[in-house]
């Protein structure tokens, strides 16, 4: 827009943005390289985290995990008939471990495998589900009629004799809570942003803005505790639903954590709309409300949208509030039923799982899927924001 951007456009760009046209001083050059490296490392970090999480989940993808309750055993006497590689896989040892154990230990381990099968309670031995590998994709995403249930259901019960790892209730729960949180937070936060940036007197603004931003300083565990003890009871009295701790309470509590995020970005976006717009509208006889609502807000829409997307990211990743308020993995879209989010599941269950076991792998799979979901939502948001911006600026 300003005249000197044209000059900069004409200046040839060197490798990674260092201008060939003028001589950078060595310190500047170093600083620039350093900042470039730091930003590269951020990208590398994101990639590494994803790769690490995905790597732990890979065995589930390739169907290498087996959670069938009844598994074939090898009698100790027939040990020599099997190759070392087979025995190693059967006993679930790493190659180093297999090398380090002596023959007696190996015998003890073989016996342990048989003991493990003998530990299976009598009433589960003839259960139709006892032979099912519950980590197959079919059981992870589709409803299945488990024994003891009257109809096919999505069940997340990862601890017990027959471990049920259906991830659909967790996705439904996450979406349910996140959407309620956003429905509660976005209108309030954007409304507050419009008020603070356009309508409030400077003195009021000086007070309201820091106070709302202070909300983000409240630790989420405190918000969760408040919701658990106070809000849950209050909301139950108002709405009179049956389940005291449900997705609605969690969503509203989550809203408190999301409001400051959305508010501060939306407020920035609204404030940075050129004064000329407001002044022109007011000069033409529009009221302050009309100006704020019909001129400033549409001009700031890309920023407000970006704020909402960031709020979505914060909400879907929030753990503590949801963990404290509701965590029953019910398969239901009703907002007054309980729900269990993915983050809650990972946080609550990771502590007790056997490292490298099927439950551990599935938790990492959930992490990877959550990562992918936020990544894709951010990508789409970025695309939409650019479209909006171009449209507003009259570019095609």
């Amino acid at each position: 827009m300003t005249p000197n951007t044209k000059n900069e456009d004409r200046r040839p760009h060197g490798w990674i943005g260092i201008h060939r046209g003028h001589k950078a001083r060595p310190v500047e050059w170093l600083a620039e390289k350093f900042i470039f490296l730091v930003s590269l490392s951020a990208i590398a970090m994101v990639l590494l985290i994803f790769l690490f999480v995905a790597r732990e989940a890979l065995p589930v993808f390739f169907g290498e995990t087996n959670t069938a309750l009844i598994q074939p055993t090898i009698p100790v006497a027939e040990m020599d008939k099997h190759s070392p590689a087979e025995l190693r896989r059967y006993l679930d040892l790493t190659p180093e471990q297999y090398k380090s154990v002596d023959h007696d230990t190996l015998l003890a381990l073989m016996q342990g495998k048989i003991d493990e099968q003998n530990e299976v309670p009598e009433n589960f031995r003839n259960d139709a589900d006892a032979h099912i590998n519950t980590t197959e994709w079919k059981y992870l995403v589709q409803a299945h009629q488990w024994s003891g249930y009257d109809k096919p259901e999505h069940i997340w019960q990862p601890v017990g004799q027959i471990k049920k790892f259906n991830i659909i209730p967790l996705f439904v729960g996450t979406l349910k809570i996140t959407l309620i949180g956003l429905l509660f937070a976005v209108p309030l936060a954007v409304g507050a942003a419009i008020y603070v940036s356009q309508l409030a007197r400077p003195r009021v603004r000086e007070i309201v803005k820091p106070v709302i931003e202070m909300l983000s300083g409240i630790p989420s565990v405190v918000v969760g505790f408040f919701a658990l003890l106070v809000m849950a009871t209050l909301l139950q009295k108002i709405f009179g639903y049956q389940t005291r701790l449900n997705a609605f309470v969690a969503g509203v509590a989550l809203g408190f954590a999301v409001i400051p995020v959305i508010f501060s970005i939306a407020e920035d976006a609204l404030t940075s709309v050129p004064r000329a717009y407001t002044q022109a509208a007011l000069a033409l006889g529009a009221s302050r409300w009309q100006t704020a609502w019909q001129i400033v807000l549409p001009a700031a829409i890309p920023g407000v949208f970006a704020a909402t997307v960031l709020g979505f990211g914060r909400a879907i990743g929030e753990t503590m509030i949801v963990l404290m308020v509701c965590s029953a993995s019910v398969m239901s879209w009703s907002i007054f039923d309980s729900a269990r989010s993915i983050t809650t599941t990972i946080a609550a269950e990771m502590g007790e799982v056997v490292a490298g076991g099927p439950h551990y792998r599935i938790l990492f799979l959930l992490g990877a899927l959550l990562f992918a979901a936020t990544f894709i939502s951010n990508m789409i948001a970025d695309f939409v924001i650019h479209r909006f911006k171009n449209k507003l600026e009259g570019k095609r």
């Binding site: 154990v101 493990e116 609550a348």
Partner: protein
Amino acid sequence: MKKLFSILSVAALAVNLHAGNITVKGSDTLVILAQKWAEVYMGQHPEVKIQVSGGGSGIGFAALQSQTTDLCDASRPAKAAEIAKCQVVFGGKRPTEYKVALDGLSVYVNPENTLKELTVDQVGDIFTGKIKNWKEVGGPDAPITVYSRENSSGTYEFFKEHVLKGKDFAASAQTMPGTAAIVQAVLKDKSAIGYGGAAYGGNSKLLNIKHDDNSPAIAPTEDNVLNGTYPIWRYLYVYVNPNLDKGEISAYLGWIRSDDGQKYVKDIGYYPLPKNLRNN
């Protein structure tokens, strides 16, 4: 919080890397008792340092097999797979099991609930979601809200195994992060039912439990747990690598199971081990 504890204990470990160090890790059920024992024992034997941390029984067994802890607290017996994993690193030996205390699990309801007793099967049916209204078991006509623990808890596994007979908890069962949270919820919610240690019940109402329809209802008191008439109870265990069960560690384990050590068990809300079980 757990993480903070483990970081602190690692930090403490780094400071105290001299002889006479015992690390204890495992069940959250046992962590307060284990800390009490450690505190008293360290007072009596200033040369010994004991670090206690929680995390859960499973974490304790994992630490035992990776040899990052000397003693493993557990609120359930070791599974065959866990024993086998330990044998790999213990030179074929099984970890030694010591029973250290008894724990009775109570069923909590809201104080305003008129119900007084349930059979074990009825409790199971309520928690699996088969019984959905209090009037089906002789209580008021109100839907039941079920509160349970996170599935990482040893108490959850014990309850699922012994009261639900291995069946799944109802999907609508609220999972709470701790026994205190369950009690809190039960006190706030008139239609609630929850479970946990008898000593943690606070102001909630503890139901009397019957073995079956024809047997008398038993209150979760110390006498009833110790003489085995109260139906829902379990042992609490300490596991140790047999190669380390000598010197200081052996002396400490002996003290825990002596009269002197056992007298602290009741302060924490569990029950001391009957004398005939102390020398297994």
